[in-house]
């Protein structure tokens, strides 16, 4: 069969040059995920795996350059980055002509072109209460007239009126989209590069209203062929996809980018005909399948395997290589820091641990200083992480690599500090509050093996400080509940960037976000004032100065105990070309190729 095809292609060689070649359907990329996805309606899902698949099906207005580091915005289905009005409130986008949705029975065999109305619909849909989008925060409160639509729909019997023209999100003509914001929205351009905000064909959403997650129809290079929730997803090439050729321009000193450019430049986008994604809930089968060449790409090297697969410099975790036995057989590694932070959060409203009084700060400081983060990172993360030293992590706009947020690990000093503030050791061997009352710290922890590992390191810290601790292991939803309602003592928390702008992180400590993102229940007038100033500013040195000041406030108050930012380690078989971890994209499948044997 392949011989025949090859012969045919040779005969028709001339025509193959003029009409662009579709990707080879025999080029199958077998990829893996570490956790189940939930579905493919970008407005309805909030997990990285679902959006990772969505990236290949849907196209937001803007996107990122695949090889530029740090991540750089580029136009996607629009002709250029937006024109902004003088007062900064109005953005105009011009859609490219000749961009088509993938074929679907709803279109009745007609090629359906992307219009500005689709872009407006995709954005407005996030605000529709009937969709109950977890991403509604991206739209609500920002665009002129949209909140009013949502409020009207939220009333009993109300329906979201998509036809009503609002200035905030408006299709001016077939190819022109206007966005008008109420107050400055520095993150807007990043938000328009998220798959969540991709244009949607209204007739598709309404046609599949009862089951949108199983019927994604977008303008991207791939379309969904088969989906077994939580087990397997198969994507195939979208035949309506426009003709584009890879032309990556990486920086001269970026060796990995240079490799990608060398492997991919000049080829048409995309190259792979079919992508099969398998979900693995256990680490052993995932690794064994990859090692026995039943998988082409490993989404991430599972944590327990890192020590066996990679050699990481314990003094500088940024330096790593594949172990010789694997390098010898040609396995490849691509590595990048995730745009995330993990941290241990003290509940700002806890009667013992919370508040801005000196004894409370001292107690938090002592606990944070006694946590042997370095050993935990070495043993649990296998050195595959860097310590958090700034609220905004590396790779995100506004990060300051020269800041040190946490006081150094020093258990003797921590104990002396507790003595200093009168946390005396009582008759039972545990410390009491300065006014002599015994207390127990409520440590909230997720059930499961990983949570258990951290608890062991924490237990040690509390043993040394002679503080009584009680670990409360709960399911994930109860964990969230406790964090949102400020009913815990200490807990581990994490935040991964929605978009690579510092505001997405600095807002974690804003007191107005208590009950939502501010799970530390941290309330500091000094911090709030600085943060509200920073909201008026676009990224730049002036905002960076405010960010430094905000980090100092959190550091002085010891609101957090140290956590880390992890590396994502993707591994590929020798025949996978052009694969590189992107700081924002979850998947690189659409930019890769397979070298046929």
């Amino acid at each position: 069969m392949n011989m025949y095809k090859a012969a045919l292609a040779a005969l028709l060689g001339v025509s193959a040059l003029t009409a662009h070649a579709d990707p080879d359907p025999d080029k199958v990329l077998r990829a893996s995920f570490n956790a189940p996805e939930t579905g493919y309606d970008p407005a309805k899902v909030s997990d990285v795996y679902s959006h990772g698949v969505g990236e290949n099906i849907f196209e937001p207005l803007l996107t990122y350059d695949y090889v530029a580091r740090p991540a750089k915005l580029i136009p996607n289905v629009v002709t250029a980055l937006p024109e902004v009005s003088a007062d900064g409130s109005t953005y105009i986008f011009h859609l490219r002509h000749g961009i088509y949705f993938s074929p679907d029975p709803i279109f009745k065999g007609v090629k359906r072109e992307l219009t500005a109305a689709d872009a407006a619909y995709g954005l407005k849909r996030l605000a529709d209460p009937a969709v109950a989008s977890p991403s509604n925060y991206l739209v609500l409160g920002h665009f002129v007239g949209v909140d009013e639509l949502a409020d009207a729909a939220g009333k009993t019997g109300g329906k979201f009126d998509y036809d009503k023209v609002v200035e905030g999100i408006k299709a001016v003509d077939r190819y022109t989209l206007q966005l008008k914001v109420k107050t400055p929205y520095p993150g807007l351009q990043y938000i328009l590069a998220m798959p969540h905000t991709s244009p949607q064909a209204r007739e598709v959403i309404e046609g599949y209203a009862s089951n949108t997650p199983a019927h994604p129809v977008g303008t991207g290079p791939y379309m969904l062929q088969d989906w077994k929730p939580g087990v397997k997803t198969v994507l195939i090439y979208n035949p309506n996809f426009r003709h584009e050729v890879f032309n990556f321009q990486p920086a001269a000193d970026d060796a990995e980018g240079q490799r990608v450019a060398k492997e991919m430049n000049g080829k048409t986008y995309p190259q792979i005909g079919r992508i099969e994604v398998t979900v693995f809930t256990e680490e052993q089968p995932m690794w064994l399948q990859f090692k026995s060449q039943q998988l082409d790409e490993l989404y991430g090297v599972p944590q327990p395997l890192i020590r066996g697969v990679l050699t990481i410099d314990p003094n500088n975790p940024r330096r790593a290589k594949i172990k010789d036995e694997y390098a010898k057989i040609g396995l490849k590694l691509s590595r990048a820091l995730d745009p995330e932070i993990t941290y241990f959060s003290f509940n700002g409203k806890d009667p013992i641990l919370g508040g801005l009084g000196k004894p409370q700060i001292a107690l938090r400081r002592a606990i944070a200083m006694s946590f042997d983060e370095q050993s935990a990172m070495r043993d649990i993360r296998r050195n595959n992480a860097v310590r958090v030293e700034y609220i905004t992590p590396p790779g995100v706009q506004g990060h300051n690599p020269h800041f040190r947020m946490f006081f150094p690990y020093n258990r003797p000093q921590a104990q002396a500090l507790l003595d200093q503030f009168g946390y005396k050791i009582g008759a039972d061997g545990y410390r009491t509050t300065p006014d002599g009352k015994p207390f127990t710290i409520d440590f909230l922890s997720n059930e499961g093996a990983i949570g258990r590992q951290w608890d062991e390191y924490w237990q040690e810290a509390f043993d040394v400080l002679k503080l009584r601790v009680s670990f409360r292991h709960v399911a994930f939803n109860d964990l969230l509940k406790a964090m949102r309602s400020c009913t815990y003592g200490i807990t581990g928390a994490a935040w991964i960037a929605d978009y690579p702008d510092g505001d997405n992180f600095q807002m974690l400590m804003w007191s107005k976000n208590i009950g939502a993102e501010n799970v530390s229940c941290y309330s500091s007038p000094r911090y709030d004032k600085l943060y509200e100033q920073s909201q008026q500013l676009h990224a730049g040195p002036e905002r960076d100065k405010l960010y430094d000041a905000m980090n100092k406030v959190v550091s002085e108050d010891s609101a957090w105990a140290p956590g880390e930012t992890r590396f994502r380690n993707r591994m590929m078989q020798p025949w996978v070309l052009g694969d590189e971890v992107h700081p924002i994209f979850q998947t690189s499948w659409r930019f890769t190729d397979i070298q046929k044997k």
């Binding site: 327990p304 172990k323 001292a362 649990i380 003797p412 000093q413 002396a416 093996a449 100092k552």
Partner: protein
């Protein structure tokens, strides 16, 4: 679980009051060599369990005495793969900007921090060197696998015994009430029983555990709540049969109360069945604890059980660290095998029909 419940059924054999049953059972057990050897091994484990609870044995399991995953002493050393030394940064360190951090003046508790720094000498601790290898290797935190296994076996036996005991208590009390009183009470308890047996054990188990949180208490309760049904069926059938026997009728004639008849007159006559059932449950629950721990409902941080050790095994084996899994498997299979053989022996020895 199905097997476990079913296995109890054939044991329901005819009984009559017989004081000599226990003495005869003991004589018969002594004659059965396999069972008798098993008996002593199980007793040794029980001793170990008691020593473990009293913190005489395995108490030091939390001490981190070796490097992470230190191999067993009898293994040959492998050379670690290392990176080439880091190339010096061009321009040197001088050009790097100074680090920004909170200064003592800015720090609201800067003064106290400084005093604490001066006073910290009294808390200084010496850092012991970690061992490179241990007799049977170390775990992730450099703890001795042998100590851990001893302590873990003790916890698992404790969990198994208590879970089985609770399960027997629930099953016997419900079963005796149902069988003795019959009628509406029996109907209601039978309904209760059929509801529990109609829901898959796995679902019951996971949902109870999800509701109850984590820890030893939860494991014991969850296991008892899902395993009482076998005992219920067995005890109910025995009570149905025995309540009409002459000696029970005679007791009723001399005015013995229901409770007295149920627990003084009938219960001793099924005690040998309960002992076998109890042992069966203990073994099943020790094995079950491993699965529960694997699913994330294991013991707390300061405790260790065979199950919680086994839950660490998949991640270790894939890296080539097999010793913890082997240690647990040996400890557990010796216990379970001897215990099961002992039960076989007990069943034969306490069977009134056999000669």
């Amino acid at each position: 679980m199905t097997t476990m419940i079913n296995q109890a059924a054939p044991a329901a054999t005819e009984t009559r009051p017989q004081r000599g049953l226990w003495a005869m059972g003991w004589r018969r057990l002594k004659r059965n060599k396999v069972a008798f050897c098993s008996f002593w091994v199980v007793m040794a484990y029980m001793l170990l369990a008691v020593a473990g609870w009293l913190n005489i044995l395995g108490d030091g399991w939390r001490a981190q005495i070796a490097v992470p995953y230190a191999p067993p002493s009898f293994l040959a050393k492998t050379v670690a793969d290392t990176l080439p030394p880091e190339a010096p940064v061009a321009g040197g360190t001088a050009s790097a900007p100074a680090l920004i951090m909170v200064t003592p003046e800015e720090d609201p508790i800067g003064k106290e921090m400084e005093i604490a720094r001066q006073n910290m000498g009294k808390y200084a601790t010496a850092n012991d060197a970690k061992l490179e290898s241990l007799p049977f290797g170390a775990d992730l935190r450099g703890r001795d696998v042998i100590h851990k296994t001893l302590k873990g076996a003790s916890t698992s036996i404790f969990v198994g015994l208590l879970g089985a005991l609770l399960s027997i208590v629930i099953g016997t009390s419900l079963g005796s009430v149902a069988g003795y009183f019959g009628g509406k009470v029996d109907d209601f308890l039978n309904w209760f029983y059929s509801v529990f047996t109609s829901v898959p054990d796995m679902l019951l188990l996971l949902s109870f555990a999800a509701v109850a949180g984590r820890g030893i208490k939860t494991i014991i309760i969850v296991m008892a709540l899902t395993s009482w049904t076998g005992t219920f069926r067995l005890v109910r059938a025995e009570y149905l049969k025995l309540r009409s026997r002459e000696y029970v009728q005679a007791a009723s004639a001399i005015g013995a109360s229901d409770a007295r008849r149920m627990f003084v007159h009938i219960l001793p006559n099924i005690s040998h069945l309960l002992l076998v059932q109890f042992s069966l449950l203990t073994v099943a629950l020790i094995k079950y604890e491993a699965i529960l721990s694997f699913l994330g409902f294991g013991v707390g941080v300061t405790q260790v059980s065979l199950g919680s050790m086994l839950a660490e095994a998949p991640a270790e084996l894939v890296q080539g660290f097999w010793w913890q899994m082997v240690a647990v498997t040996i400890a557990m299979s010796l216990l379970v095998t001897t215990f099961s053989l002992l039960i076989d022996g007990l069943r034969d020895a306490l069977d009134p029909k056999a000669r």
